[in-house]
């Protein structure tokens, strides 16, 4: 199983802080599975067409997917995926 964590405004769409998913494929597959589960608002935030949008930051075990293969990043049993909106601070 994959542990999925949601943060900040992403929680407005999922109405929960975390979940588990099958997600035996790629990050892209996982986000599609989650879009089915949470509906249009989540999907609109997570995707631009078929590509993962720039409005979300996705970490797999703490690594931004931009540095691990983007949506094609493969997931393994026991991975933790964290989904954030674009945020900033100081």
């Amino acid at each position: 199983m994959i542990k999925v964590l949601f943060f900040a405004t992403i929680r407005d769409y999922t109405r929960e802080k975390e979940t588990v998913a099958e997600g035996s494929g790629t990050v892209g597959d996982l986000l599609l599975e989650l879009s089915d589960r949470y509906g249009g608002e989540f999907r609109d935030e997570a995707f631009d067409g078929d590509t993962i949008s720039d409005r979300v930051i996705v970490l797999v075990n703490g690594r931004h997917i931009a540095h691990t293969g983007g949506g094609e990043t493969r997931l393994s049993e026991g991975d933790t995926v964290a989904v954030f909106p674009i945020i900033g601070g100081g």
């Binding site: 075990n61 703490g62 964290a82 900033g88």
Partner: protein, 599 residues
């Protein structure tokens, strides 16, 4: 140049008050604020000056945009020689005080000497007088502000002042304006205390001069559009404040726990911006003219106050092993009242906890106070009070983490750079920010070159936090741009949406001087280099000063997503020196100094 505000020079020893004009050439080269004031300090305060002696100078400086029509442009800088680091101190603050100083017709206030007794400076437009502050000496920043407003008989005046920590010369003392906004870092409050200066109260009635109003309006329209459509400045910061970072930095494994003995805190969500917004936030706070409004007004029990920022949550929370927000918020309120820098105060308590747990601080020294153990909520508020009052063991804590750990023979537990406590990102997990800490002119600091933006948040580009190949250049560019923004009077947080060209356009409209993006970045480079020259003249030795605590260089992160990592600073530093045009020892070359007209 007087239309842009004048320079007020006050000798506190003699009570002499002088008025000077701004220099156009200096404004073009150093912009204002952090830049202009550092140039003055460099020219006027000789090497080797004791920071707490009358010979040190304390400069409050606006930027050319402070109090004008640009967004989030209410900021001023406090520049002096730091008693904490012995290096340049330049602390930035928002709120409303800087804008009021501009309305009163002043660009900069230079304070010299030492008043014979507690004194405050009252600036009422062009009427300036030194007044007796006996009645407020000893009072906290909130009570002092109320009493001083009564004393001048104008509730709309603005106050910047010190609390007991500054009066008692704590090296962690901040200068507090508008009660809760802080020029926080590097012990600037102690310099003010050493001069017997309790406060500067200001009231202005003029509209600050803008050279080209139509141009200003056009630039403003474009910038506002960018700020309104940028997700960070339009949603993230207003909704959650800076504390929105708690979860992402923790998920990445860069959230320094128990005095950097770890970098991952499973309980982080309990102290996140999300929890803060849900359980404690009563309203947002905006500084002068700011459309972002990242400030937090919070309530805990029957106390209402401001904060905490992300940094404060880290310092009193994870760094001290404390989980819940209530005691963290309480500690934040205490820092605002006593006038303490929250980052340095929290990180110093964390160092004390390590010293205590490892048996170096003895139980008797606590004099019945709560045990300095990681996770002890009571300890963070109790010892903040003692530190603010500089009494008991708090006397040692008030010296900061470096001197505290040295007193006990274990400087290796001090998580400082150039004796200043490091902020809330672990330089082992995020390589660029570690390089920025190591090279920061004011010691451990994130807002000299905030590479968290590209390394974690992916703005403006997504850089891999563990990769080091391009970090030296990125750190340098961020440091230069930040120096220029700090000099302009605008808030650094606007840079999530704006770039060098935007700041240049504002500066050009406000001053009529020929600024463009390249000139702004070059001014930032010049400011960085004159700060470096100030530090070198004070005897800074780059070999042991441009570094990180051994813990970050040699002790791998023990657990969490960044397990096993250490900082690769030794590989990055030579490249950074090269990118800066410095020699292999980290000294600016003649060519570089001539290029910047610093020689």
């Amino acid at each position: 140049m007087d239309k842009f505000g004048k320079v007020l020079r006050v000798n506190l020893t003699t009570g002499t008050i002088g008025i000077e004009s701004l220099c156009e050439k200096t404004m073009k080269e150093f912009i204002g604020g952090r830049g202009y004031a550092t140039k003055v300090l460099y020219d006027e305060v000789p090497a080797g000056t004791d920071p707490l002696s009358p010979q040190n100078k304390l400069i409050f400086a606006n930027g050319p945009l402070t109090g004008k029509g640009a967004p989030s442009a209410g900021r001023y800088m406090v520049v002096t020689k730091s008693p904490l680091t012995g290096c340049i101190a330049s602390s930035n603050s928002g709120g409303f005080w800087g804008a009021e100083l501009a309305r009163a017709g002043w660009f900069m206030v230079i304070l010299e000497g030492k008043a014979p007794k507690p004194t405050y400076l009252w600036i009422n437009d062009d009427k300036v007088e030194l007044r007796n502050a006996d009645a407020v000496w000893g009072k906290d920043s909130h009570a002092s502000t109320d009493a001083l407003l009564d004393d001048v008989g104008d509730s709309k005046a603005k106050v910047t002042c010190i609390g007991p920590a500054g009066e008692r010369l704590s090296k962690l003392a901040a200068i507090m304006n508008d009660k809760n906004r802080a020029a926080g870092r590097s012990g600037v409050g102690a310099v003010m205390g050493s001069k017997n200066l309790k406060a500067v109260v200001v009231k202005g009635s003029a509209r600050p001069y803008v050279e080209n109003q139509d141009e200003m309006k056009a630039v403003l329209a474009g910038a506002m559009e960018k700020l309104k459509t940028n997700p960070v400045t339009s949603q993230g910061l207003p909704t959650y404040g800076t504390a929105v970072l708690v979860n992402i930095i923790n998920q990445l494994g860069g959230y320094p726990k128990n005095n950097w003995q770890g970098a991952y805190f499973p309980e982080a969500d309990t102290q996140s911006g999300e929890t803060l917004a849900k359980d404690f936030l009563t309203k947002r706070y905006s500084c002068f003219g700011c459309p972002i409004g990242c400030g937090r007004v919070t309530r805990v029990g029957d106390r209402e106050g401001e904060g905490p920022e992300y940094e404060t949550i880290f310092a009193f929370g994870v760094c001290c092993g404390v989980e819940r927000l209530e005691p963290i918020i309480e500690a934040n309120y205490l820092c605002n009242e006593y006038g303490l820098d929250t980052i340095s105060a929290g990180v110093t308590i964390a160092a004390a906890m390590e010293l205590y747990e490892k048996g170096f601080i003895r139980k008797e020294e606590l004099e019945g106070g709560p045990e300095l153990r990681f996770g002890n909520e009571e300890a963070i508020t109790y010892w903040t009070k003692k530190m603010g009052l500089v009494e008991g063991l708090g006397r040692k804590l008030a010296e900061g983490s470096y001197r505290l750990c040295e007193m006990y023979g274990h400087p290796e537990f001090s998580m400082t750079v150039k004796k200043q406590e490091m902020p809330a990102y672990d330089g082992r997990a995020i390589q660029g920010i570690g390089l920025n800490y190591a090279t920061s002119n004011r010691g451990g600091c994130h807002v000299r070159g905030y590479t968290i933006s590209p390394e974690v948040l992916g703005l403006p580009e997504k850089l891999d936090p563990v990769d080091i190949s391009t970090k030296p250049t990125w750190v340098m560019i961020f440091q230069n741009l930040t120096a220029a923004i700090d000099a302009s009077g605008m808030c650094l947080f606007t840079s999530f949406a704006l770039g060098a060209d935007d700041y240049a356009a504002f500066l050009k409209a406000a001053t009529g001087l020929d600024f463009d993006g390249a000139a702004v970045l070059q001014a930032g480079d010049r400011i960085w280099n004159i700060e470096r020259m100030f530090n070198l003249r004070e005897g800074l030795d780059p070999t042991n000063a441009d570094t990180l605590p051994d813990r970050l260089l040699k002790e791998p992160i023990p657990d969490g997503p960044s397990k096993g990592m250490v900082s690769r600073l030794p590989e990055m530093l030579p490249e950074y020196y090269k990118a800066r045009g410095w020699d292999v020892k980290g000294l600016p070359t003649d060519t570089k100094l001539r290029e910047l007209a610093l020689k």
